[in-house]
Amino acid sequence: MYYVAQVIRDECTKYNCKQCTLFCTEPNTLMYTDEGHHAYVITERCKGCALCVYVCSTLLKRDSIEMVYAENRDVAGVR
């Protein structure tokens, strides 16, 4: 059992910063969709380091990403 990141769509669409996608340490794991105006996580690739949560919540105070149990995740990487 381990944690993965999941984007909170309603919060993320308020911004257009994409900073989490830059600071994710895994390649092609945190991506951004211009159509939906939000980031999303490819959860199979996520190692659960929570650096994205540090960027989004601690640095930017936007609280748009959360860590969830892998088995409870939304497979789209966004809820």
Partner: protein, 286 residues
């Protein structure tokens, strides 16, 4: 090499893994203006790797590979260390020879490519850790600078031999205690960026990877200067969060702290390098 090596035979495409198909269809080849703002959308040139969760070294890899202006004609020379866990997973030509001889190998490859393909631009980039660059490979590194080889050397400085259990390296700071350096290091950190300047590098930068845009700018400048003028050296702080006892989400905070201290951004640009950088800025490539 050419872009054709990344083309998949149409008859075999249905059998090829989707990540490889994405490399052909969604990666940013042939665009010298590529950069870190491709990361949220494009296929990256590095795949899933075995570095630890939250390792800043993998951040550095993402930024460097996104910033290479000419990835289809770039050869990466690497060495032993944590970084060597990543090279099997990047979509460029890489050469891994002996521990520490990476700059000698790079020199030979660069000279051969210039002779074999005189009408083409081929970038040779060395990516190695602090052990390979400053301890075991210091001789090869400095002599490539003395010889004015036109290569870019990038050092991932995590200030420790991390994947062998935590021995001190030449770049460990004085007094630092590790599992296999229990008394603390007795000597000062080697000022490798200063050695690079004194040895003839035309562009030298020292920074952390806490600012993706800054890393992109530095990497592009270093590669353009190396193409036309001579050796360039980039010193990146990529702390080993495990060996200094941090959590997986602490890396950025650690680097932001060091941004104000011993890894405060430092850049040296020679007169010849300034001309190249100014020209590339006017062309919109930096």
């Amino acid at each position: 090499m050419s872009l054709k090596i990344f083309k998949i035979n149409e008859a075999l495409k249905e059998f090829v893994p989707s990540e490889i198909v994405d490399l052909e269809e969604k990666a940013t080849w042939g665009n010298p203006k590529r950069g870190i703002w491709d990361l949220p959308y494009a296929k990256e040139l590095v795949e899933e790797h075995s570095l630890c969760a939250g390792c800043p070294e993998s951040l550095a890899f993402r930024y460097i590979l996104a910033s290479l202006p000419n990835p289809e004609d770039t050869i990466i020379i690497n060495s032993t260390g944590c970084t060597s866990l990543v090279f099997p997973h990047i979509a460029l030509h890489t050469v891994h020879s002996l521990f520490g001889n990476q700059n000698a190998i790079a020199s030979g490859i660069k000279r051969t490519l210039e002779w074999r393909f005189p009408d083409k631009v081929k970038d040779v980039v060395v990516l190695a850790g602090d052990g390979a660059t400053v301890d075991i490979g210091l001789e090869c590194t400095l002599h490539s600078f003395f010889r004015q080889e036109r290569i870019t050397t990038i050092c991932f400085d995590n200030e420790v031999y991390a994947n062998t259990g935590g021995q001190e390296s030449g770049l460990t700071v004085k007094g630092q205690i590790f599992k296999m350096a229990p008394k603390g290091k007795q000597w000062d950190k080697v000022p490798m960026w200063q050695l690079a300047i004194d040895s003839g590098c035309h562009y030298v930068a020292r920074l952390t990877v806490s600012s993706p845009k800054r890393v992109e700018k530095v990497i592009k400048q270093a590669i353009y200067v190396a193409r036309e003028v001579g050796p360039t050296y980039v010193h990146l702080y990529t702390p080993c969060i495990l060996e200094i006892g941090l959590n997986s989400d602490d890396a950025l905070e650690e680097m932001r702290g060091r941004d104000k201290e011993r890894f405060k951004f430092f850049e040296y640009i020679s007169e010849k390098a300034k001309e190249v950088i100014e020209r590339k800025k006017q062309e919109g490539l930096i």
